[in-house]
Point group: C2
Chain length 291, copies 2
């Protein structure tokens, strides 16, 4: 199977490396020549354009930084769909909105191609180690075709349902991470002010109803105050909560907890920098509490 | 060791039964005669007053429904502290505020008695099965004295630190449960509106960063819409979030996420009834979303 990868950023470069390790015939494209050169040095072919890439492969993967870039790369002139042919499977690994996912699926169907929304979770570390969670929406037949490719990049690959359900699943995860990280910040602040050790408290909560994956992850970061530099920077959540808010509006859903978490995360990004770790809303609350 | 139990409600009655099973010489007191009679039928002695109970035992346990009742039973005339003697250990298993816990500790110390704030988590089921989490604050020596008694009632017994730290730990847990249950409600609503199965989504989140103990617990309840009747009714959280809000004010801590969760939980209690399960903020959000 010939595979193409469009976008060789933090995520795409790690994913491409694992495909090459798995023996895939891989063609790559990126706007930055040095990213392409690095993938070529690992065994990939370079395609000079999105169109050239699409024409050369059976499965097209894309990992792109924003909804706007995704729309342009898939739906724009000279884009993926324009060059797609019947029987191809087109996969978007970016986190986009439901509307974009469904528009791409319709446009692909009109050319006889399959389209999967397949956002990933696990960060650059998961991409590099091939341990991503991949949440996939779209036709099951297209999913089965692409599945061997997904299995080279992730350990937790799930078909969630029809078109858009991978995207919805990813946004649910981002919603929960965002609210949980703000809740953990309040709990840690309470612990510190009441004279409890943050790590001991997190250990007790782990076996109580208050436990969460994020609470456990954040405890040592908060305890050592190592908020700068991170594999999970607030800017990713600034972006994804923007998408989530729009989705809430489109679907007419009240999301008051997410909206408040979004405010705290945006304030963290503006006050401390968008590369600060997603646990850093702790600093915003500490400041508000005279710390 | 002779032990006394004051308060034989949902929690205290289960705890008393496990002490009797463990062969403890137990004396009980409750304002409701039928509660006392039931404990006596299991092997307990009855004390006609709090004072008579305190005078007969080495370790006094109390499990009471509110901060006000706790203050009265411990600090009021004819109460526990008035009758306490040097060397006794007094334990409050109720969820109260830090100020009350510390006042009791000081008053006990003046009589030469030890005081432990030791709130529990696990609900009536945990009390009955002897699988409670018991979070203990106070002098370590007093903790070591009472520990064999705690081990008959709980499987996760932890000394958290000085006076008030058991209470602070319990309030942290309630904070997280409250925010997580509202976050889970938003996520489940998003799942339903986007056409995802709630249980499948919860399973994926369980192995992603978005996972929480409450999300996992609530998923089947929300899926089957079984919100009425519960071992974890919203009224417990209405009470504990009231205590938490006061604590936040006393310590000067900003708790915006908890405050918002409190609003949603109070609205759940007022709209659907205070015996509804703690997962029922889902219904409030569904209503706000035109459901």
């Amino acid at each position: 199977m010939r595979v193409g990868m469009i976008g060789l950023g933090f995520m795409g470069s790690g994913m491409a490396a694992n495909l090459l390790k798995g023996g895939i015939d891989l063609t790559v494209n990126d706007i930055l020549p040095e990213k392409v050169e690095r993938a070529v040095s690992l065994g990939a072919r370079a395609a000079g354009s999105v169109g050239a890439l699409v024409e050369r492969v059976d499965v097209v993967l894309a990992s792109l930084p924003s909804v706007e870039v995704c729309r342009q790369v898939f739906l724009g002139p000279g884009g993926v769909i324009e060059h797609a042919r019947a029987g191809q499977v087109l996969v978007d690994h970016s986190t986009v909105d439901l509307v974009a996912s469904r528009e791409c699926a319709e446009a692909a169907a009109a050319k006889g191609a399959g389209f999967l929304d397949a956002p990933v979770s696990g960060g650059p570390k998961g991409a590099e180690e091939g341990t991503l969670s991949i949440m996939v929406g779209g036709e099951r037949a297209a999913f089965e075709t692409a599945r061997p490719v997904f299995d080279l990049m992730g350990t937790n690959v799930r078909h969630m349902g029809g078109s858009g359900s991978g995207t919805a699943m990813k946004l649910m995860n981002q919603l929960l991470v965002s609210v949980h990280t703000c809740a953990a910040a309040e709990a840690f602040l309470l612990a510190e002010r009441a004279g409890l050790d943050v790590q001991t408290a997190a250990d007790v909560l782990h076996v109580s109803w208050g436990g969460s994956t994020i609470l456990e992850r954040n405890a040592p970061i908060v305890k050592r105050r190592e908020f700068a530099g991170s594999g999970a920077p607030v800017r990713l959540f600034v972006k994804d909560l923007g998408i989530l808010t729009k989705l809430g509006r489109d679907l007419g859903i009240a999301l008051p907890m997410s909206n408040l978490a979004q405010e705290l995360i945006n304030e963290t990004s503006e006050t401390f920098g968008d590369d600060y770790d997603v646990s850093a809303p702790f600093l915003v609350l500490e400041k508000r509490s005279g710390g």
